[in-house]
């Protein structure tokens, strides 16, 4: 890729797989469990985090030389809070129903460990462009898992995808419901998300054994 050097490409690609924030670093689990019952909510959450982390990393990176290190956490919080409020207001203005589904979890992006983690670990020590790529990469890694979990939970739990009845109508008994299939109520409750994330972690580590931690 001519646009990005190899090093820069890795900033985006690494967090997607071998250094995934959820499955490898096990960060940002709370929101992954809470809002993945529907694919739509997962996608919006992923987009919100991409925006917050991408923009936040750039802002922090630009300010990195003027932030006194003693109060850097407070500065980071203010930056991320500002961005989260922007996202929250946009959602309320243009997707009110969805913002009600996501409820408090948009606000809780502030406490998402991935965001503070990238500010601390990357943006404070790198330039804006690289910080931007790193932010986008990590947020994408987070979003990919969210979308995978949301896909399976909505498909198996409600029989829909983005609200469309892809498996047929459970009440009118069309599609697969006509042969006795039923939605799995277990997939809608948050413990199922934990198990799905666990299975992703399991599959990933058995495909790439170097990822298994030694104890």
């Amino acid at each position: 890729m001519a646009l990005l050097s190899k090093k820069d490409t890795n900033l985006i690609l690494d967090p997607l797989a071998d250094n995934n924030p959820i499955t490898i670093q096990v960060l940002g689990i709370c929101s992954a469990l809470a809002i993945t019952a529907e694919l739509k909510a997962s996608v919006v959450m992923a987009l919100s985090v991409i925006f917050v982390l991408g923009a936040g990393n750039v802002v922090i990176s630009l300010m990195r030389n003027i932030i006194p290190s003693k109060i850097r956490i407070i500065v980071q919080l203010i930056v991320v809070a500002t961005l989260v409020i922007i996202v929250d207001q946009v959602l309320k203005a243009f997707a009110y129903e969805l913002s009600k589904t996501l409820a408090v979890f948009v606000g809780l992006i502030i406490t998402n460990c991935i965001i503070m983690g990238r500010f601390e670990a990357f943006a404070l020590g790198n330039g804006p462009w690289r910080s931007f790529l790193d932010g986008i990469g990590n947020a994408l890694g987070y979003g990919v898992i969210l979308v995978i979990v949301g896909f399976f939970r909505e498909l198996l739990g409600s029989g829909t995808l983005f609200g469309f009845k892809v498996l047929g109508d459970p009440i009118a008994k069309t599609g697969v419901y006509s042969i006795g299939y039923e939605n799995n109520g277990f997939m809608i409750i948050p413990p199922a998300a934990l198990i799905v994330v666990g299975i992703i972690i399991w599959v990933q580590r058995s495909r790439n054994r170097t990822l298994i931690e030694e104890h």
Binding site: Y181, E182, N184, G185
Partner: protein, 425 residues
Amino acid sequence: MSDKRLTLKKRLHIIKHSLRGKKVAPAFNAFHTFLYTPDETTHNGAHVRGADDLKRTMNTVIMALIPVLLFSFFNTGYQYYAAIDAANGMPREVDLFGNFLTWENFWLGFTQVIPLVIVSYGVGLLVEFIFAVIKGHEVEEGYLVTGMLVPLIVPVDTPLWMLAVAVVFGVVIGKEVFGGTGMNILNPALTIRAFLFFAYPTWMSGDKVWVHEAVERAGTADAISGETILGSLAQNAEYSYSTADMFFGFIPGSVGETSAFLILLGGLFLVFSKIASWRIMLSAVIGALTMGLIFNGVADAGWIGESSRFYSLMSFDFWKHLIVGGLAFGIVYMATDPVTGSQTNRGKWVYGFLIGFLSVMIRVFNPAYPEGVFLAILLMNVFAPTIDHYVIRGNVRRRLKRLKTATILPKTTDGKAEQLQAETV
């Protein structure tokens, strides 16, 4: 004749050795051990307790389950025909030889229960085979008991595909991810039951699922129903079963849970063959009675009005909790699982007591489903290692104290005790 068998045995042994180290070896060995005793013995496993090997332990439990299974055939049929009679305005009185132990009942129950058994074993063993081949170890006997327990703790009309999904979930998530037989934290049979309960609640509760065909007939002129006693109590409704019916098991319920009498016999058999722990069984009974007494006291003292939705369950005679629902079955066959239960004797008392105590508590307060045995046992499965940890720590502390106070030991004892303490902490 014996010559022929010897050659077959020898031939199989030769095949076994030629397959050693290959991918199909575990699958072949599994079939081989069904036919002949293997020449090796089990070397490890958390549940090896004595001369009995794993297979014999498992088989003893299955033997204790056979009477329950046979009874379930008759009861499934009996409940079906009794429900039809009741719907036609002719409530039945049970008559053991007249209308219970009949060929008609047996055949209906047999054709309903055996598919559950086949699916449970077929799917469960298939998963075990796949994992054994992937991981390259021997097929473990761990599923033998689980496979028999599962059909006995589900409603008779559970769709087979649901059971299959639940079995895959239970064996993979409940057992294999922790490292297979002997390493699991949760009882796989109860994991399967809990999965079914949370995934498909409409098939696991209500007054339609306990009698064969009741779901299909719902809404038609031939509608039948059979509410469990606990279900009736949860709605403050009357039930029409005598105490003897409850004890001998002529009541609706999950396939094999109804007969407290046969479960008691199975339990005694397990205790005398030293397979299951009498401490867990006894303390669980004491725990259930204690909680039942507390609830009876609350109801008798008038702290709870008759209009309360908990009134019937709370005022239900405390000892009857043992003979309705799945409590007896859970205590005898599930709580005593040596892998997931407490290992220390003192811990077993605590573990069992809390199972009984929590079962009755969940039973009374669970708004959706008046049964709590499986939830109580799963919860205590999780706490069993913690209980053991504190029992062992307590034991270490007591021994150190004894070491300190012992007068015959030389003066250096104190230093030694501190050193020991440092090592054990």
